[in-house]
């Protein structure tokens, strides 16, 4: 299929690009009008059809349309093409032509793989309206781009492209080399020159804002615009567009080159295209679109230039944002403008951050403004999303300016998670802030590692949305000092989930009203006698205790919450978090802590909120990590045997002992039942005997287990083997007299 876009009115040149099955011959003209002309070459490839997408649709009508588009036979498609071409040839371009173009677009886009067809057709007429432009671009987007290299682009006609066509070529460029050459040709080859010119223009457009302001009470500056007129001047529009593109421009323009010059150039070109495109819309005379980027950037700014262009733009951006922030204390009248005001504040603070990164001397000028803004907004939670970029600014530059950031962190780690855990956008941005600044935060914010009870509220409320963030963040929250409390907290995340739901419901439901649908949990939540339990779960910081004594009471109170969607979703994420926890904790914990953690595991295996499958999943995680820990630190096994007795701890129930026995049995079996791989060490005999002793001790405390006390020993060294067998026989004979075994093998309580 060959699209030939030609025009008879202008003496423009043709642009030939051979495509795979599709040829594009384009004569891009200065007018935003061009002719669409379809010819189809006899190309080799057959039409491919994607058949595997689903057929379930939101409306039957759409479904049948898509089906038709996919299943259209080549011959039918060719007839359709010829009809379309004939329509395009006609002078009157009416509804039928538009409709046919739309159908062509649908046919092309509904197929995952390119449709090709073969037909010859002839030339077409002018397509004056925007609708045709849009439709033609859309159709071209669905066709294949030029496969050829830059040699195919002739310099002159490239420059003539309007922004639609230029964007199309850019988006379809097939290789880095193509992008690079296209960019350099579009930017007339002098990349740095163009960038300078555009930067100067940006300065002009930004300066316009200062003209608008300072007028009287009626002038609201950026936020209100001119009051009397409905239409805007070009400069006013460019003011809007410049501010909109400024941050990205600064980032690509000013950033230290990471060697990816092509990417930066392409991004700058894309920005230029959007500015030039917007520029075209700001003109009243639509037919006079001058798409050339370079020509848009007219005379350089004539105002005094004490600084080089890059620095000047930085300075102007700084001043503009400072002004914007200062003006933002005026209340916007419409809600949409109030929302815009917040967005502008975010942008302004980010731009200030950006320019301060480039030029540290600006930090001292920026901080008074930022501090004042913080002071104004910090008590208003509806501005939380504006406060996050402010926190970023403090984190990046606070040290240089020797500013105390305590209040900022109190918000970020305190109020925000505690009170805004159910704002999905804040959650996303706050967690992203943590992820992107992890090293810095660990260094500068001492309370970070103790803030997990608060941070985990985001996860407890909406696990599916943020679990991915916590997979990245959790390792940084695992420290020797907080590991035990963190483990308990993770195991009780579903309880936290239920509590947050209750908290939200409680604030919605009047205090006087009974929880009509018999919500015992809500009554419990509000009841003074259980307040302490819930308050512990809702605590903001670690350090006040590993867990509560009355956990089983809490679980009973929350039993009806076990099928609440949030609770269930949360429970599903706990196993994966536990894996991460254990994988991390072995890197920071000593043996004593590991022993403590094992005891927590054993204790909690029977102390979990009763959600279907939850217990089973947790046990599975526990046994795999218990096994691993025992292999890493065999002496832990001794700990288990020694201390797991009712005389040491009243919580050592038969169930617990049995669970432990089974775990150790599994360890022993694994170690002894198969030969170690060649070259690896044989398990130390001490491990084996310790295991056997531990098993025997446990068996003696729970007589059901005695028959299972025997095991198979494997050892290559005869001396060791003798030692093991001897010990085994000693233990076995002891166990034959259970009463004696118990008193011998269980140490007294001290």
């Amino acid at each position: 299929m060959e699209f030939r876009i030609s025009s008879s009115s202008c003496s423009s040149r043709t642009l030939h690009c051979r495509r795979y099955g599709v040829s594009l011959a384009g004569e891009m003209v200065r007018h935003n009008s061009y002719r669409l002309h379809c010819t189809f070459s006899h190309s080799a490839s057959t039409s491919l059809r994607n058949a595997h997408l689903s057929v379930i649709m939101y409306s039957h009508g759409s479904e049948s349309l898509i089906k038709q588009a996919r299943e259209i036979q080549d011959s039918e498609l060719q007839k359709f093409y010829s009809r379309l071409v004939k329509l395009l040839q006609g002078k009157e371009l009416g509804h039928e032509t538009v409709d046919s173009l739309q159908r062509l677009h649908l046919i092309l886009s509904a197929n995952k793989y390119i449709r090709t067809a073969s037909e010859e057709a002839s030339v077409a007429p002018l397509l004056p309206s925007e609708q045709f432009q849009v439709l033609s671009s859309a159709v071209l987007r669905e066709t294949l781009p030029p496969a050829a290299h830059s040699g195919n682009y002739s310099q002159e006609n490239i420059v003539q492209l309007n922004s639609h066509a230029a964007a199309l070529l850019l988006s379809q460029a097939g290789s880095r080399a193509d992008v690079s050459s296209l960019c350099s040709q579009l930017l007339r080859g002098l990349e740095s020159h163009h960038v300078t010119l555009l930067s100067k223009k940006l300065v002009d457009w930004l300066r316009y804002a200062s003209i608008l302001q300072g007028g009287g009470a009626s002038s609201g500056g950026f936020f209100t615009g001119p009051r009397s007129r409905q239409s805007f001047t070009e400069d006013q529009w460019m003011n809007v567009f410049s501010f909109s593109a400024l941050r990205h421009w600064l980032l690509t323009y000013h950033s230290v080159s990471n060697g990816n010059g092509t990417a930066d150039t392409a991004h700058r070109l894309q920005l230029s295209l959007s500015l030039s495109h917007s520029h075209s819309f700001s003109n009243d005379d639509r037919s006079e679109v001058d798409g050339s980027v370079v020509s848009m950037v007219s005379a350089t700014s004539s105002s005094s230039r004490l600084l080089p262009p890059k620095e000047r733009l930085r300075e102007k951006s700084f001043q503009y944002c400072q002004r914007l922030i200062e003006q933002s204390d005026r209340k916007a009248h419409k809600k949409s403008d109030a929302d815009l005001q917040k967005a502008c504040l975010v942008e302004a603070v980010c731009i200030l951050d950006c320019v301060c990164e480039e030029d540290a001397s600006l930090v001292f000028r920026a901080f008074p403004c930022i501090k004042a803004l913080f002071g104004r907004l910090s008590s208003d939670l509806s501005f939380a999303r504006v406060l996050l970029p402010i926190a970023q600014f403090y984190l990046n530059h606070g040290e240089i300016a020797a500013v105390d950031c305590g209040l900022v962190w109190a918000l970020v780690f305190g109020r925000f998670p505690a009170e805004l855990f159910n704002d999905p956008f804040l959650a996303h941005e706050l967690l992203r802030f943590l992820r992107l600044n992890l090293e810095s935060l660990q260094l500068r914010v001492p309370q970070y590692t103790h803030s997990f009870p608060n941070l985990l509220k985001f996860l407890a409320w909406d696990s599916p949305a943020v679990v991915d963030d916590f997979v990245d963040l959790l390792p940084s929250l695992v420290t020797a000092g907080t590991a035990v409390e963190l483990l308990h907290t993770l195991l009780d995340l579903p309880c936290l989930s239920a509590t947050l739901v209750l908290q939200v419901r409680s604030t919605c439901l009047p205090i006087s009203e009974q929880s009509g649908r018999g919500l015992l949990s809500l009554d419990a939540f509000r009841s003074p006698s259980f307040r302490g339990l819930f308050l512990f779960l809702l605590r903001g910081e670690a350090g006040s205790g590993d867990t509560i004594d009355r956990l089983s009471t809490l679980h009973e109170l929350l039993v009806e919450t076990a099928d609440w969607p949030r609770v269930v979703q949360c429970a599903q994420t706990v196993p994966v978090l536990l894996h991460i926890f254990f994988n991390t904790v072995i890197t920071v914990a000593d043996e004593k802590l590991l022993a403590h953690l094992i005891l927590v595991m054993l204790e909690r295996s029977s102390l979990l909120l009763n959600i279907p499958k939850y217990n089973k999943e947790i046990h599975r995680v526990f046994s795999s990590h218990l096994l691993r820990l025992c292999k890493l630190h065999p002496s832990l096994v001794w700990v288990l045997g020694e201390y797991l007795s009712v005389s040491c701890d009243s919580r050592c129930s038969v169930t617990l002992i049995t669970a432990c026995f089974e775990a150790l049995e599994a360890v022993l079996f694994e170690i002894t039942s198969s030969a170690p791989p060649p070259g690896a060490d044989c398990p130390a005999p001490r491990v084996v005997t310790t295991l056997m002793s531990a098993l025997a001790k446990l068996a003696s405390r729970s007589h059901d287990l005695i028959p299972r006390g025997g095991s198979v020993a494997w050892c290559s060294d005869e001396e060791d083997l003798v030692a093991i067998v001897t010990r085994g026989e000693e233990l076995w004979s002891l166990l034959k007299a259970p009463g004696v075994a118990q008193s011998v093998l269980t140490p007294p309580a001290h």
């Binding site: 997408l53 689903s54 379930i56 649709m57 939101y58 409306s59 759409s62 349309l65 898509i66 538009v98 409709d99 739309q102 649908l106 793989y113 390119i114 309206s129 925007e130 609708q131 849009v134 439709l135 294949l144 781009p145 496969a147 964007a167 460029a173 097939g174 880095r176 992008v179 950026f222 936020f223 615009g225 809007v240 567009f241 501010f243 909109s244 990205h248 092509t262 990417a263 392409a266 991004h267 894309q270 920005l271 295209l273 959007s274 819309f281 419409k334 949409s336 403008d337 815009l340 917040k342 967005a343 975010v346 942008e347 956008f425 996303h428 992203r432 599916p464 949305a465 991915d468 969607p565």
Partner: protein
């Protein structure tokens, strides 16, 4: 801004699958700038782009249905003419798209769920999400109105040029715009003029 797909996946409440009804990507193909061993052919890149869109649509669909389930709200059926109400009742959220899944760089996918339709705006890390949220709402409102999406029709498939025209004004080349109500109103008048042709 780049690439910045705006996609409108259609979701059926009964089934487990969804279909992308419209998708637009802006800017050069970002994968060109990553270190790759082979360069894809144009057709392969087109397929890749379609698959990336499908991945995003699936994830949004999943997020939206989980979010609705958790919120426990009943799905109300808004009728044509009740677009503003439908928008007010819409579920919304934001997804993290990890680097490599499916785009080379990490992205944030903002989404709005209106009945069985999902509207998604994928943003790059430097983009202003607060502004993007407002922009997505505005775009959704216009799509609902001008494409009669609350009715049983299938107009979106044959009227995609309307979405293109809408995007060319409110999101030119993928650029988010800071528009106060007056500028917005001016652009919306242009949009209305296009739609009535």
């Amino acid at each position: 801004m780049l690439p910045d797909p705006h996609s409108v996946p259609g979701q059926c409440s009964r089934g487990r699958e969804s279909r992308v009804l419209y998708c637009r990507v802006f800017g050069p193909d970002e994968s060109l700038f990553t270190d790759q061993e082979r360069e894809f052919s144009p057709e392969e890149r087109r397929v890749l782009q379609r698959e990336q869109t499908a991945v995003v649509a699936r994830q949004v669909r999943s997020a939206a249905s989980l979010s609705r389930g958790a919120a426990g709200r009943l799905l109300m059926e808004a009728l044509p003419g009740e677009e503003a109400l439908a928008l007010q009742e819409a579920d919304s959220g934001v997804l993290r798209l990890r680097a490599g899944d499916p785009f080379p760089e990490e992205m944030s996918a903002l989404w709005l769920g209106v009945q069985s339709l999902g509207f998604t705006l994928v943003c790059e890390p430097h983009e202003n999400l607060l502004l993007a949220e407002g922009t997505l709402r505005t775009l959704t409102r216009h799509c609902l109105e001008y494409l009669h999406l609350l009715g049983p029709g299938s107009e979106v498939l044959l009227r995609s040029d309307r979405i293109d025209a809408l995007l060319s004004r409110l999101l030119p080349h993928g650029q988010l715009l800071f528009l106060n109500h007056r500028f917005a109103h001016s652009l919306e008048k242009e949009v209305a003029a296009y739609m009535t042709k």
